[in-house]
């Protein structure tokens, strides 16, 4: 269905090819998962398949790409619309129309289909993707998961035989991601579509994949059946890593598989884990909220939250989209709306009363979209501006950035950085005034495993130095890795607050894969499992 022969792609001005002599053959009806570190060329591979490389992006494409028998050399992306549907990252950016229905018909209108055919296909697609209830709603008012499904529907109406998706679940909460993935598996199983999907969050997708394609940093590509590829893959979801250290064969791809092989392991661990004594260290509160309310014109976002953010620990804020996580973080920082209640710092002052310049010396908030903070044209200029705004010694921010992200070219444009590097830059800027309390709103969006590991290390370091960290995240595996304490919000109220171990293992939605496999043993990560095994050995 998709055939790449000796494909190399070199972007204009680039010294090295982004993809290097790629041979790939994806058969009809396969769900093929593309994995690899950020910047390795996953997106380039997907774009080559739908003709956007090189017709849209420019650059040199060597070799040949054939999709459903059409050569992309002679077919522009628009000439492939009826065989390849492509949903790029952040679907909201690709919407042309106003309402869901109009968005669904856009491709069909361009192809010149008759209104009767359009009518039928719109109904089919609405049913298939569960969008009937929002058919007349404005696309920009929908939730992330619904938008993703509308974007999929908008290409499905052209009846393509291949669907290409770039990180369809990265920005979604677990429940919305499940909806999108369920829709995808339905397309593969019921309609026999061929699906090519790139995704960082392997733990979500790997169980559905028939074939895995890994793109290495040097642009070389390997592919094979999922289970076989996972055996030696550098990046792997926790469940596969657990299978590796437990020596399971075949390697489990889903929680169900793993749980069936996990009996003996649970037995060994039960002995090792039970004696762990829970000592709650006495930590000082750096930020205390009491009776905090945030009200928007139509609804309450936060309702009576009492919360202590303590120095020396990393606290994760979890909950569905719209549970009030962002509003709470902004209210705590003093910069956001607060309708009632008190927020006090360790020295008894209120960050909202301090004024922005003073408040950021105590509390730093990294907003959901780090780019909102950046307005200069080079990384170096941003660092210098941050130094002068914070009254810090020249070079402080740049030095911190190097510590966080390794050496970066200070002359590069902030928007040319990878997601992880952007986050590091904004963290460095926000920490330039040496705040004790660090608040982060969804910091893991778009980060690969490596970047998440760096972030976790950094947060731990801030906490070890006595700082307090509060972050909101949907990423249960990341929270399991880095958080000491988890607070769950629902409908603007705190519904659970406790150690990460207690809260995460008790919740079906927020439990990490390892906890699901090993339940009722309270272990969250592969590292904890190996540590426990080392004790028993």
């Amino acid at each position: 269905m998709i055939r790449l022969e000796g494909v190399s792609v070199t972007y204009p001005g680039a010294a090295e090819p982004t993809l290097r002599s790629v041979d790939l053959n994806v058969a009809e009806g396969e769900l093929c998962l593309v994995v690899g570190p950020t910047g390795a060329g996953k997106t380039t591979l997907l774009r080559a398949v739908c003709g956007l490389v090189p017709h849209f992006s420019g650059g040199l494409l060597e070799g040949s790409v054939t999709v459903a028998g059409r050569d992309t050399r002679t077919h522009r992306p628009r000439d492939l619309a009826d065989v390849v549907g492509v949903v790029l990252q952040d679907p909201a950016q690709g919407f042309v129309a106003d309402t869901v229905e109009d968005e669904l018909v856009y491709a069909m209108e361009q192809l010149g289909l008759s209104p009767g055919v359009m009518r039928t296909r719109v109904e089919e697609t609405l049913d298939l993707l569960g969008l009937v209830d929002v058919r007349h709603a404005p696309v920009r008012d929908l939730s992330g998961g619904e938008q993703q499904r509308v974007a999929i529907g908008a290409v499905l109406t052209a009846h393509p035989r291949i669907l290409v998706l770039d990180e369809p679940t990265s920005a979604l909460d677990p429940a919305a991601a499940e909806d999108v993935l369920a829709a995808l598996t339905r397309l593969v199983h019921d309609l026999g579509m061929t699906v090519l999907v790139a995704e960082h969050r392997l733990e979500r997708v790997v169980q559905y994949a028939d074939r895995i394609v890994t793109v290495a940093a040097d642009g070389s590509v390997r592919s094979g059946p999922a289970a076989q590829m996972m055996r030696e893959s550098v990046v792997a979801p926790p469940i596969v890593e657990l299978g590796r250290i437990a020596g399971w064969d075949p390697l489990p791809m889903s929680v169900r598989d793993a749980r069936r092989s996990a009996g003996p392991l649970r037995g060994r661990l039960l002995a090792a884990v039970a004696p762990v004594a829970r000592q709650a260290p006495r930590l000082t509160a750096q930020l205390t909220a009491s009776g905090l309310h945030v009200r928007y014109p139509r609804s309450w976002a936060v309702r009576g939250v009492d919360l202590e953010v303590r120095g020396g620990e990393v606290t994760a804020l979890m909950g569905r989209n719209g549970a009030g996580k962002s509003s709470l973080l902004w209210a705590l920082s003093g910069a956001g709306r607060r309708s009632a209640g008190r927020v006090l710092l360790a020295d008894g002052s209120d960050p909202a009363a301090l004024g922005p310049a003073q408040a950021r010396r105590r509390v730093a908030l990294v907003p959901q979209n780090p780019l909102d903070l950046l307005y200069l044209s080079t990384v170096g200029a941003e660092c210098r501006a941050a130094d002068s705004q914070a009254g810090a010694r020249a070079g402080t921010t740049a030095a911190r950035l190097t510590a966080l992200a390794g050496p970066l070219d200070l002359a590069s444009h902030p928007r040319d950085l990878s997601e992880g590097q952007r986050l590091a830059l904004v963290l460095a800027i926000q920490l330039s005034a040496d705040a004790t309390v660090l608040l982060l709103d969804e910091p893991t969006r778009g980060l690969d495993y490596d970047a998440k590991r760096r972030l976790a290390g950094l947060l731990a370091q801030h906490a070890r130095a006595g700082g307090a960290v509060l972050l909101s995240s949907h990423d249960v595996e990341f929270v399991a890795e880095c958080a000491d304490r988890v607070v769950v919000l629902a409908g603007g109220e705190v519904v659970a607050d406790g150690s990460a171990r207690e809260v995460l293992t008790a919740s079906p939605t927020f439990a990490p894969q390892v906890a699901k496999v090993l339940h009722p043993i309270e272990l969250l990560t592969v590292a904890q499992v190996s540590a426990a095994l080392a004790v028993t050995a």
Partner: protein, 333 residues
């Protein structure tokens, strides 16, 4: 309701308002326009634009009166307000400030203002009564691409406003001032960068969804026809303005230009095989609304300013209400 029906109605009333010599007729047109626009408009921002037009119309009348009082040439008549005339220096020949204000002068100024106010209100009402998205759908098929650009602009604008608010909030976290000149680039640049990045993502998404995929055929007749149309209009406009040209030349050439342009547009539209899901249908209601406007224009041209004609004009102007009142919660626009 087909958006062009409202535009025809408004245009007809505009012509009537600009040609009728009768003051009651003008008043009726203004009242009828307001009545129809208020009762038949939909919800949403465009519906809320009506008060703005009313204010603008009032300002137009007030301005005319002010101008008359301040710099008007004061003709003899019943004096209402005897202001002393202020002589002006030699370079302002023919201008005299103030002077006796007469009822006749005020009346002329008010009627002139009312006429312009009626024009503003008629066109404004059409804007209020039609939805932007649906008006754009009636653009010629060959203008589809530029129409798409405008559709995108209209759809994206609210998100940009939200983005600007978000960015300003975020900038405060950094300790940047929220006001003042330095805050402007800090807000505008991230929003603009986001918009530009989005435009590339959007272009990729449109391209791979077959954007204008069937385009590329050419018709050699289109460009000459369109250029001919522009030439005819340019010359025709001159003919209309300059009375020394033959009287038929202006309107004749304008009509020729319109015909060429229409033909060129139709031929260009045939090359576009794009279809549309929601075709605007021209129903009986649309005919009634459009005929009401057309009727008003014709009536003013052929009939005198008699009371019968004025009453008929008023009836025609409000006729759209018969077919367009919102029913069962559905907007009529």
């Amino acid at each position: 309701m087909h958006p062009l029906a409202w535009w025809s109605w408004a245009l007809g009333l505009t012509v009537a308002a600009s040609r009728t010599p009768s003051v009651p007729a003008l008043g009726l047109i203004v009242i009828a326009t307001l009545l129809v626009a208020t009762l038949a408009r939909g919800d949403g921002p465009r519906g809320r634009a009506l008060p703005g037009f009313v204010v603008l119309a009032a300002v137009v009348v007030a301005l005319r009166l002010t101008f008359y009082v301040v710099v008007g040439i004061k003709t003899p008549g019943t004096v209402v307000l005897d202001l002393p005339a202020v002589p002006m220096p030699a370079w302002a020949v023919g201008v005299q400030l103030f002077g006796p204000v007469t009822t006749a002068g005020l009346g002329t100024a008010a009627v002139g203002g009312l006429r312009l106010a009626a024009l503003v209100l008629c066109v404004g009402a059409a804007g209020v009564l039609t939805s932007a998205a649906r008006t754009l759908r009636t653009l010629p098929a060959a203008l589809h691409e530029l129409g798409t650009a405008v559709v995108i602009a209209v759809n994206v604008a609210p998100a940009l406003v939200a983005a600007a608010t978000r960015v300003r909030k975020a900038q405060r976290l950094r300790g940047l001032p929220a006001r003042g000149l330095r805050a402007v680039p800090a807000t505008v640049v991230p929003v603009l960068n986001d918009a530009l990045e989005q435009s590339l993502a959007l272009a990729a998404s449109m391209d791979s969804r077959g954007f204008a995929g069937t385009r590329g055929r050419r018709d050699a007749r289109v460009v000459p026809l369109l250029l001919g149309a522009l030439l005819a209009v340019a010359v025709g406009l001159y003919g209309v303005l300059d009375p020394s040209t033959p009287p038929w030349s202006g309107p004749g050439l304008l009509a020729l230009g319109a015909a060429c342009g229409l033909l060129g547009s139709v031929l260009a539209g045939r090359l576009v095989t794009r279809t549309s899901f929601r075709r605007e249908v021209w129903g009986t209601q649309a005919s009634v609304v459009a005929m009401a406007g057309l009727g008003a224009a014709v009536l003013v041209t052929v009939a005198g300013p008699g009371p019968g004609a004025v009453a008929t004009l008023g009836a025609l102007a409000v006729a759209p209400l018969l077919v367009s009142l919102p029913r069962s919660g559905r907007s009529a626009a």
